[in-house]
């Protein structure tokens, strides 16, 4: 039996959030400046400027522009990109796979590195291992992605010639940007795993496990790690947000053809329709994931429905 009432409420909330985001973006990009002047060459006359403004509907009052915008968006049409003179939404959608691939690879790398590193540090607390790992974690968190990216290119691409410096096309192109993007969250997750492990290792059940003569290895991995992983999973989920944010910088440094790079160039060009479409797509991705999660979760745990 599905909790239909709850699902209905959540879907309605989600739709409301998307409408809200779309309207806010509509308003904010219009505050940011006039795109028409950026689209014409220097020799454009006042008439040229006025004519283009009229052709694009920017001479209309804000509420008329908003009305037209809402009517179009309701039909799934975000208008043509001012800069590329093509429909905006497909321009954004074709970038989504690239950004998703980059972000998820980065998150996977950071999780795969952080968990063993954190466990090791906690298990050998105070050792040189521990200090080295914590120093590395601190470093990872302190380095801006921009700088990490340039360093990775300098070392692994230019000096050692292992990976291409930028671009896309093969799996080898993915390694450096994903690593640069993953470094930051690796630091945070490592520290968290270590903290969780230290707490778990001080618990009674660990002492009991040791007392009954279990191998230390088994104590650490079977008993302590499993109990300390739950908060880690929470954090990894939250990291996805900051990873998508960091993807903007990473995509610029590594010339990766993702949504972030598209948004940056669209903002600089005051390409209203493209900014609107891009923000809408990114927001939808987040909101839909949350919606699906909440629904599945409500099915799994009835208490949530009444919360």
């Amino acid at each position: 039996m599905l909790p239909w009432g709850y699902i209905g409420r959540r879907v309605a909330q989600t739709a409301l959030v998307l409408v809200g985001i779309t309207l806010v973006v509509f308003w904010v990009v219009r505050l940011s400046g006039d795109p028409v002047l950026l689209m014409l060459p220097a020799d454009a006359s006042q008439q040229d400027i006025a004519r283009l403004r009229e052709a694009l509907g920017f001479d209309q009052p804000m509420y008329v522009q908003l009305q037209r915008f809402v009517e179009r968006v309701a039909r799934g049409d975000f208008g043509n990109s001012l800069r590329f003179q093509e429909p905006a939404l497909p321009l954004v959608l074709e970038r989504v796979p690239s950004t998703a691939l980059l972000a998820l690879t980065a998150l996977s790398i950071s999780t795969l590195v952080a968990i063993p590193l954190g466990v090791l540090s906690a298990a050998r607390r105070g050792s040189a291992w521990d200090h080295a790992a914590m120093f590395a974690a601190l470093l990872g968190q302190s380095m801006p992605i921009f700088w990490t990216g340039i360093m990775l290119i300098t070392i692994f691409s230019v000096a050692l010639d292992i990976f291409p410096s930028s671009g896309t096309g093969t799996l080898r192109h993915l390694v450096l940007p994903a690593a640069a993007l993953g470094v930051f969250s690796t630091g945070r997750v490592t520290r968290l795993v270590r903290g969780g492990m230290l707490e778990a290792l001080g618990q009674d059940y660990v002492r009991t496990a040791r007392a009954k003569g279990l191998a230390e290895r088994r104590v650490v991995y079977r008993h302590a790690l499993r109990n300390s992983l739950l908060p880690v999973i929470t954090i990894v989920g939250l990291e996805l947000g900051s990873t998508l944010g960091g993807a903007v910088v990473t995509e610029m440094v590594f010339a990766w053809p993702g949504v972030g790079r598209l948004i940056v160039s669209a903002i600089f060009a005051r390409d209203y329709p493209l900014v609107q479409a891009a923000v809408f797509v990114v927001a939808t991705m987040f909101v839909l994931v949350n919606l699906v999660v909440d629904i599945v979760y409500a099915i799994a745990d009835p208490r949530v429905r009444y919360a």
Partner: protein, 509 residues
């Protein structure tokens, strides 16, 4: 319970990424060796040459399309698709066209193509983005026979050749009409040395040599354009040999590339940077002596040397070296703070005054505007002029510029550094006149812009530059050098003097 929710969240995300990952396919590797790969900071914007106002986009379009004429390094216009031309009368030009040229799809190049192109650019309904000057100046185009063409202008228009060189890419009428403008913008078709293959946005544009090119077979089988936004990454890709040419090398990386084992650096004429002065509303700046004082107060040579690492050429006025009538004997204002103070005293501003300087950081990729602005402000403070720096975002600057809200402002003029349009647009009161209106300047510019006799035009250009130098509507600064990094294995013999690249100028060495 929050944790369990996160697990589900992650699973959903990974599932969502599966189709994403499978949709992602590696592009075929470029044929090694015989490819010319160039990298610029931004992706191209469109493949319709008449809808383009972007210099980087031009670098691709110029390999696919050709114009009637091209301006050479010698400052003369050379025939390209035109064979010859003559001025019939003040408002009529006659062009003889080359025979036997075909577009990439096999369509013949004739006067119909020229007429179709120019009519499209001059059309007031369609409003091509690179069309303003065509709309303002071209009255009529007449096909006399398949290889003879008349272009009639509304008024005497000596800059017609410059306009054709800059924006008049010739397109094939039959092809355009059969595919329509949307597909034409995706699948361009010109007469140039390379034909279009593919464009993957923000990844690369791939072109293939046109073996039937009239100028001979191109030296490279393939031409690849890659957008790499970050300058350090472009430099890394060049050092590593992934690309053969990297545009916009930052001044601080020039030495390293110059001394590199596989790299070298060349510089090209770039955009002009000046500080505009509101000579209409700001009381002190209405006085010519004050404007001259500001020019004397700033040590531009030191700025070029110390702030820009020598990557610029100092200018004496609003004209570029190479423009018709540019006069090298007119020297830039000497750095002379004492003289500046005397001029200020004469004008009644012995105690100085306060003024705001707007700095659009990063405007048109201009180098180090913030540093230059700070240096200018400190020079001006030494003669008593207190400058408040106002850093603004470039797009906002364009708007405020037009709304006449600036007192002093940085401005950049690039792209067209050959015709007289810089004077006509920036300093002729009837075009903009936002911050400067002078009957004498108007007369000088109008005369220069309508003189059909080249010798006379030369004289009038010198006169205009002399007047504008003395009247000082700007603090004249410098012309940037556009710095380009090259692989040593690449020989480059540039035909043009500006930043536009022609693939035929390159070969391996």
């Amino acid at each position: 319970m929050r944790n369990a929710s996160m697990i589900v969240r992650l699973i959903v995300l990974f599932l969502a990424a599966v189709p994403a990952a499978t949709a992602w396919r590696p592009a075929p590797a470029a044929a090694a060796g015989n490819t010319l790969t160039v990298a610029f900071s931004t992706d191209i914007v469109t493949l319709d040459p008449h809808q383009n106002t972007d210099l980087n986009t031009m670098q691709v379009l110029l390999q696919i399309y050709e114009h009637l004429v091209a301006l050479g390094r010698d400052g003369k216009f050379h025939p390209v698709l035109a064979e010859s031309w003559e001025v019939v009368d003040d408002r009529t030009w006659k062009f003889k066209l080359r025979h036997g040229i075909k577009f990439h799809n096999g369509e013949d190049f004739t006067a119909d193509a020229v007429k179709f192109t120019l009519d499209r650019l001059a059309d007031t309904k369609d409003q091509m983005r690179s069309g303003p000057s065509f709309r303002q100046n071209i009255a009529e185009t007449v096909v006399q026979d398949p290889y003879t063409m008349l272009i009639k202008t509304k008024a005497p228009y000596p800059d017609l050749l410059a306009l054709l060189h800059l924006s008049g890419a010739i397109i094939p009428p039959a092809y355009f009409q059969s595919v329509g403008k949307e597909r034409f913008a995706r699948e361009p078709n010109g007469t140039g040395p390379y034909r279009f293959v593919s464009w993957r946005r923000d990844v690369q544009v791939t072109l293939q040599a046109n073996d039937r090119y009239r100028g001979g077979k191109p030296a490279f089988a393939e031409f690849v354009y890659r957008p790499i936004p970050e300058a350090s990454t472009r430099v890394a890709a060049l050092v590593k040999g992934e690309i053969d040419l990297a545009a916009d090398i930052p001044a601080e990386r020039v030495k390293e590339l110059e001394s590199g084992r596989n790299t070298r650096v060349v510089s090209r004429a770039g955009q002009q940077i000046y500080i505009g002065l509101d000579t209409i509303k700001v009381e002190p700046l209405r006085d010519r002596r004050v404007r001259q004082a500001l020019n004397h107060a700033v040590d531009v040579d030191a700025i070029v040397r110390d702030v820009l690492g020598g990557q610029a050429i100092r200018l004496s006025g609003p004209m570029f070296p190479g423009m018709i009538g540019y006069d090298p004997t007119i020297k830039p204002y000497a750095y002379d703070p004492d003289r500046a103070k005397r001029l200020l005293t004469d004008a009644g501003y012995a105690g100085g005054f306060n003024v705001t300087l707007d700095v659009p950081v990063g405007y048109q990729g201009a180098m180090k505007l913030k540093d230059v602005g700070e240096t200018v402000a400190s020079y001006l403070s030494k003669v008593g002029v207190n400058v408040k720096l106002n850093l603004i975002e470039p797009a906002a600057a364009t708007e405020r510029y037009q709304a006449k809200q600036f007192q002093m402002y940085f401005y950049a003029w690039g792209g067209d550094i050959v015709s007289g349009r810089i004077l006509e647009i920036l300093l002729y009161s009837k075009t903009r006149g936002y911050y400067y209106q002078s009957p004498e300047a108007d007369a000088a510019i109008a005369a220069y812009q309508s003189a059909m006799n080249p010798k006379r035009r030369e004289e009038l250009g010198r006169a205009a530059l002399r007047f504008l130098h003395d009247d000082a509507p700007f603090i004249f600064l410098y012309q940037e050098k556009a710095t380009i990094g090259l692989a040593k294995s690449l020989a480059w013999d540039p035909v043009l003097s500006d930043q536009r690249l022609r693939s035929m100028e390159f070969r391996s060495q």
